[in-house]
Each structure stands twice: as structure tokens, then as C-alpha cells.
Symmetry: C2
Subunit: 254 residues, 2 copies
């Protein structure tokens, strides 16, 4: 039987990035699409507990079993697994191709990467793909090339089922990309600004803005790879335990 | 100068758990409260990008500088740091006391723990506290006892500023709690069910439900500690790199 590949994203089912990823996935197996019905950027690992969820079959991608879901990217993975697929094994979950970077700390805010993480919690090997180009009309051809190579190798060689890969592709023509690198997550953060304003009734509000900053100069990071023309691949996990800190924190064994 | 302690949560500024935590924090320093104006359970690391945010000063806790925010727990930490405090250092961020467990994989779905994680990204040492009792009228006295001891020690001995601690307190009277244990995060997941139903217009919907399951039998996990009458403390981090997997994934260096 051909592998079953679940495709999702956080930009919504209408984004061009998910269409690019579906075209890649079709080469390798049976494709199931469950994606949000609206943009869900920055939703992180949010799940919908306080509201009901809608799940509708849609006819957007020719010959592909596709659903739009009213929830978050993580809800999409949960619904795919527990409502649609149930007892059959999902062999791979791929998420994206995101319009914009999910390198460094952005893995944590990203709905695209949180969907991949949710799959890893369900013991489904998973990969999130992001292109460093926010434009809705971005050129996904180099990203599709690398997604094809990476998915092919992961399906052939296998991957620990609690892992997720965070793949970011630089905004460069394929001919200028030097290759791909296995990296660690760079230590960065957002230097936020909240733009203050007042609404038509005179009440104050703030709008989140900011600039990503990274003081981590390591040459083994995803940020270094991307700045130097490589595709970055960070093997990531949902076990957040800081194992190295356990001996140091023993003073809290009370 | 007394340490500046930021207090937040995900159950909302009206929850009794945050009041308990503020009472603990007051013993140790100057307290600033920035908490969501409505319940935000399951919001994970979501941030608000598509909408403006409201931030209002409130007069709920006597003598405590307090604000309610219309966003997620992570938004609350960002607004505290970048709108309210700005250049002064926040010495500690504490989040909770959550009404219900955040052990094992729940750290990832939890707004309480994501607020603590956001503080760690901002290099503010942080601790999330959760009591294994979902009732709004839960008895927080044992949780307050352990929160006091843990905060005291962390302020005295210091903690790496990129760490967060995930502290869970069993639903037991203080006299029956055996102590606290430094643990790793148990490998568990939610066996979800989506309850199907139809709305008044006849359209189908689903409501997320589920049961936490954990096949990880290790005696060094948070789940083991809690089931055996201990407070669990998991030192956690926002670097999600699966370092052990890096050599295994070198086949993707293309």
C-alpha cells in the first residue's frame, strides 16, 4: 500500500504554499489534506476547547481528499487522526510550505511547526517546510525541489517517530542554493514593539510588531545556514526537558 | 531594590489560582500582574497578530499593580516586558496557579506554561505552577506552601535565565505530600475523541474531548512523581533541537 501522507499548514487551505506541498506529496503516496479554513499564523500549539469545530470536505485540489477545518493547525492534525483516518497509520505528516521563516525560536510561535509537533506527539514522523518569502505570490520552485528530496529520503531511510524536522528554505533561485544542512535551533528572540493607537471610540489599543534578533553566532545554527545560502534542517522534539539542568536543580528536591 | 516579579496565568485574572500565587509572590518582592481578561486554557504559545490588543489597569488585588490583557498568556508576558516594564529587569516570572495538571505533554498545550516559556525566551527565569484540581474552588494551601519554598530557593540560588520550571502539585492535603522531585517530562499523549453533534441549523460540528494516556513507566518522570504523592518539577527549555538525532539525520546534508 502507498504511504498515507497528511498535509496541513497555518496559512489556510487557500494559500499557494500548501498547493506546492500537495504537488510534492502526490509523487510519494496517498494524500489527505486537512487545513485551516482561515490564516492561523502565530497560533503556536493552540487547541480549541471552548468552541465546537467544523470540518468540511472541499473540492479544491483535483483528485485529492481534502478538508477545511475551522480550528487551529493542531486541531487539523487531531481531526485528521481521530475523525478521518482513525485506525489506519498515517506514515508522514508534512506542514507548509509556510509563507515566511520558521527558523530559530519561530518554531514555537508557528502554527505550521506546531502541527508538525502535534503529529510527532501522535508518533507520526513529521516535517514542516517554510520559505523565507512572505509574499502570497512567492516562487516555491526551489522549496519544492528540496521538499521532494527530503521527503524521498525520509520515506526511504525512515525517521524516529517522535521527531519532527524544521526545514527552512532561503529566498534564492535553486541554482544559488548551496545545499542543505542539519543544524541546531539558533538562540534568538523578537525585540517587540507594541504600536499604540486609539480606536474610533477613543479607547487605546496596541498592535504587536517587532524585529527578530539573534545574537547566537554559532555556525551550526539554522540562522547561519540560511544566511549562507543553505536550506536549514533542525531535528526537533516535543520533550522539553532540560536534561543538562537536572543535576543543577537538585536543590529543589524537598 | 526588591526583586520584580511578574505574575500571569491562563485561567484569567479572576481565577482563584492567580490570587493564591500573588499572595505567595508578595512575600518576595515587588509584584506586577498582567493576566488575560478571559480564560485562555489550551492556547499554547499563540500570539495575537491579526487583531489589536487591549491592556487595562484593574483594581482587583489590594496594593498590587495589576493589568488585564485581551490577548493570550504569551501576549501578557510580551506586553508586561515591552509596554509596562521596558528597561527595568524582571527578576522572575511566575505563572498560575493553574486549575488542572500541566504535567507531561500538557506543557505544550498550556497557556500557563507557554507564558513561562515566553519569559525564558526573554531571558527571565520563570516557573509555572499547576494544581491537579480543576475545580474553581480548589484548595490552594499545599500549592502555596510549595510555591513559597520553590520561589524562595530559586531567588536565593539563582537559575539559568533560559530555563523554565514546570511545577505540578498533587491534589492532596499538605501533610500527605511526600516532598518534591526534579523529574523529566513523561512521554504521554491525549487519546482524543471528537464528539459529533449538529447545530440548530442542522450543520454538523465536533467538540474536542479526550483522555490523557501515558505508557511511559519511568520512575524519573513527572507523572510518576505525581502518582506517588510528590510535587513534580521539570526543568524545561525552549531550545527544541533534538541534539541526539543530529548525527542520525546527516543523510539530509545534501
Amino acid at each position: 500500500m502507498k504511504p498515507l501522507i497528511l498535509v496541513t499548514n497555518d496559512d489556510g487551505i487557500g494559500a499557494s504554499g500548501i498547493r506546492a506541498l500537495i504537488e510534492v506529496a502526490q509523487q510519494f503516496g496517498e494524500v489527505l489534506v486537512v487545513a485551516p479554513d482561515s490564516p492561523q499564523s502565530g497560533q503556536g500549539h493552540a487547541i480549541t476547547l471552548e468552541h465546537p469545530l467544523r470540518l468540511y470536505k472541499v473540492n479544491i485540489f483535483e483528485g485529492i481528499d481534502s478538508y477545511e477545518c475551522s480550528g487551529t493547525p493542531v486541531d487539523c492534525v487531531k481531526m485528521a487522526k481521530h475523525v478521518l483516518v482513525k485506525d489506519r497509520k498515517i506514515d508522514l505528516c508534512i506542514s507548509g510550505i509556510n509563507h515566511g521563516s520558521n527558523s530559530s525560536i519561530n518554531i514555537i510561535y508557528s502554527g505550521t511547526m506546531s502541527a508538525a509537533m502535534e503529529a510527532s506527539i501522535e508518533k507520526i514522523p513529521s516535517i514542516g517546510f517554510s520559505l523565507l518569502d512572505y509574499h502570497m505570490g512567492a516562487d516555491f520552485s526551489a522549496a519544492k525541489h528540496y521538499a521532494t528530496e527530503i521527503i524521498k529520503l525520509v520515506l526511504e531511510r525512515g525517521m524516529q517517530n517522535t521527531l519532527l524536522l524544521n526545514v527552512n528554505i532561503p529566498k534564492l533561485p535553486l541554482s544559488e542554493i548551496k545545499g542543505s544542512r542539519i543544524c541546531r535551533q539558533a538562540e534568538g528572540h523578537w525585540a517587540e514593539e507594541f504600536i499604540p493607537n486609539t480606536d474610533p471610540t477613543g479607547r487605546p489599543y496596541y498592535w504587536l510588531s517587532g524585529k527578530f534578533t539573534c545574537a547566537d553566532a554559532g555556525e551550526d545554527t539554522d540562522i547561519w545556514a540560511l544566511e549562507n545560502g543553505y536550506v536549514s534542517i533542525v531535528p526537533s522534539m516535543h520533550d522539553l526537558t532540560a536534561y543538562a539542568a537536572i543535576p543543577m536543580m537538585k536543590y529543589l528536591d524537598l
